[in-house]
């Protein structure tokens, strides 16, 4: 017999997460504009709604009403389908991210995540690999050599830093013994993993910022914008999808960093857990907000890397560092275990 209540609960949690992700992403764009503005001694959007709070809605409406042009010689189906890939991959990555601890209502245990696969972390990494297709397909379908070049550069950057992303997380996986994200949070009840894996955390930060094509690694979307870049030929609605994808990836990566290195929904060690589940999702949101601020702070401070510097950094510096991190973690773990 199908347990209809379970199904209903799962659907409710899914809806909640989807709505929360979309709203968060929209307001993250506003957060970015305001924070960048205050760093630059100016105010951000202030006219649309108090403190500009309705600005993301205005932006969304504007993008929907813009004329969506498909170049005549573009490959139409691929062109239309390509932007949806990063967006879909990013939202699917949220299926395995737990927001808070388990809690019980009326004797039923409710899990505030969509699914708790044993390989949760691998699933997220797989989704990030999958989203690269969106860039490649968009660049190819634009039928524009500058778009192609920009897209190829971006693809190369993203796949290189995926390697680093994966390797930087291996240390954490060794410490917690499981790929499941809920298991990783539960493994941090004593000490957060950032204290055990400081080098891993720094490498993860680099990799995360490069994965999402953000400053200072935003060569694919900045300089090429002057000439091309994979989203040149995209207007209005589909352009919006690419940026939705990028911002939702930023949310995913911030959530992962908060969960893996900063203890997820647990409060800092010196503060007792006075907020019951499920409301201790506030701690997770707070940590994600810190990461969001870090992203924007980096964008407001640093000039961008040149492309060869980006690749050199990845393969010549971060890869050896990640490998050394893994070796040291393994040795220390064996030594303590023995």
């Amino acid at each position: 017999m199908i347990d209809w209540i379970s199904v209903a609960i799962t659907i409710a949690v899914m809806l909640f997460i989807i709505v929360w992700v979309l709203l968060s992403m929209a307001y993250f764009t506003l957060f970015e504009r305001k924070v960048l503005a205050y760093i630059q001694d100016r105010v951000g959007p202030i006219h649309v709604g108090p403190w500009g709070l309705l600005q993301p809605i205005a932006d969304g409406v504007k993008l929907l009403f813009k004329e969506a042009i498909i170049p005549a010689k573009a490959d139409k189906w691929v062109f239309v389908f390509a932007p949806m890939i990063p967006f879909m991959a990013a939202v699917m990555a949220f299926a395995v991210i737990p927001l808070a601890g388990d809690f019980t209502i009326f004797g039923r245990t409710i899990h505030p995540y969509v699914s708790n696969v044993n390989i949760g972390l691998l699933f997220v990494l797989a989704m990030s690999s999958f989203s690269v297709y969106g860039i490649v397909m968009g660049a190819w379908a634009s039928n524009n050599k500058y778009s192609l070049l920009g897209g190829i550069r971006s693809t190369a950057q993203v796949i290189s830093y995926e390697v680093i992303l994966g390797l930087s997380l291996v240390g954490v996986i060794m410490l917690s013994g499981t790929f499941s994200l809920e298991g990783i949070v539960n493994g941090q009840n004593a000490v957060w993993f950032i204290f055990f894996q400081p080098l891993g955390f720094i490498i993860y930060l680099f990799a995360a910022i490069a994965e999402t094509n953000r400053s200072p690694f935003d060569m694919p979307e900045a300089e090429n914008e002057l000439v091309g870049g994979y989203h040149t030929e995209y207007s209005g609605f589909w352009f919006a999808f690419y940026f939705l994808g990028e911002y939702i990836w930023m949310l995913v990566v911030s959530a992962l960093a908060a969960i893996i290195f900063l203890g997820g929904w647990n409060p800092p060690p010196f503060i007792p857990a006075f907020i019951p589940a499920p409301f201790n999702v506030i701690w997770l949101f707070g940590k994600m907000a810190i990461f969001g601020f870090l992203y924007i702070w980096l964008r407001g401070t640093l000039p961008r890397f040149r492309y060869d510097q980006v690749m050199g950094l990845c393969w010549k510096i971060l890869l050896p560092a990640a490998l050394i991190n893994i070796v040291v973690t393994a040795v220390v773990k064996m030594w303590i275990g023995a």
Binding site: I39, D41, R42, V43, W297, T301
Partner: protein
């Protein structure tokens, strides 16, 4: 190597400082004392009328040739033939003031202030008005009455400032 770290501290510091934006049009900056806004006619302190005599010096000095001054002379009235009670001739009626047609095209004006400097009777002044847009070009050709109105507003705004600054002596 630590310069990039110091850079982060700079941006963080600026994040917490007050922004320098004026939220136009809710807040406006006040202009300096010698700000060159649109030229206006300063009303005479006693009579409240325009001091312009129609000499045309401002039109001659204007580098953009935006001022047109036309002075229509009114003839003096003929001497009166009436006698009053004591048998003396009456004073003739007052000579009517010459009519001055004054037009300034502020769309072409370069706001240099030469007309103010050239005016022999200090009738002109550069006001603080900079919001000058109009729906059509004809509205941007100011005549004497409009400039006098703006001048009355300007005098009221700058009441209390130094006389020397108000007259914008070169």
């Amino acid at each position: 190597m630590f310069d990039s770290v110091k850079g982060f501290w700079v941006t963080l510091k600026h994040f917490f400082q007050r922004p320098i934006t004026y939220k136009y049009p809710m807040e406006r900056r006040s202009m300096g004392k010698r700000y060159r806004g649109v030229p206006v006619f300063v009303p005479d302190e006693q009579t409240g009328e325009c001091k312009c005599t129609g000499c045309g010096l401002c039109a001659r000095v204007c580098p953009s040739e935006v001022i047109t001054v036309e002075r229509i002379k009114k003839p003096a009235p003929a001497p009166s033939l009436e006698t009053d009670q004591s048998g003396e001739r009456c004073e003739p009626a007052a000579k009517p003031k010459d009519e001055v047609k004054y037009n300034m095209n502020i769309a072409r004006c370069i706001y240099c202030g030469y007309c103010v400097d050239a005016c022999a009777v200090k009738a002109l002044a550069m006001s603080n008005e900079y919001e000058l847009s109009a729906p059509n070009r004809e509205d941007l050709i100011y005549d004497k009455d409009h400039m006098l109105e703006l001048g009355k507003k300007y005098v009221k705004e700058t009441e209390g400032q130094d006389q020397e600054d108000k007259e914008k002596v070169a």
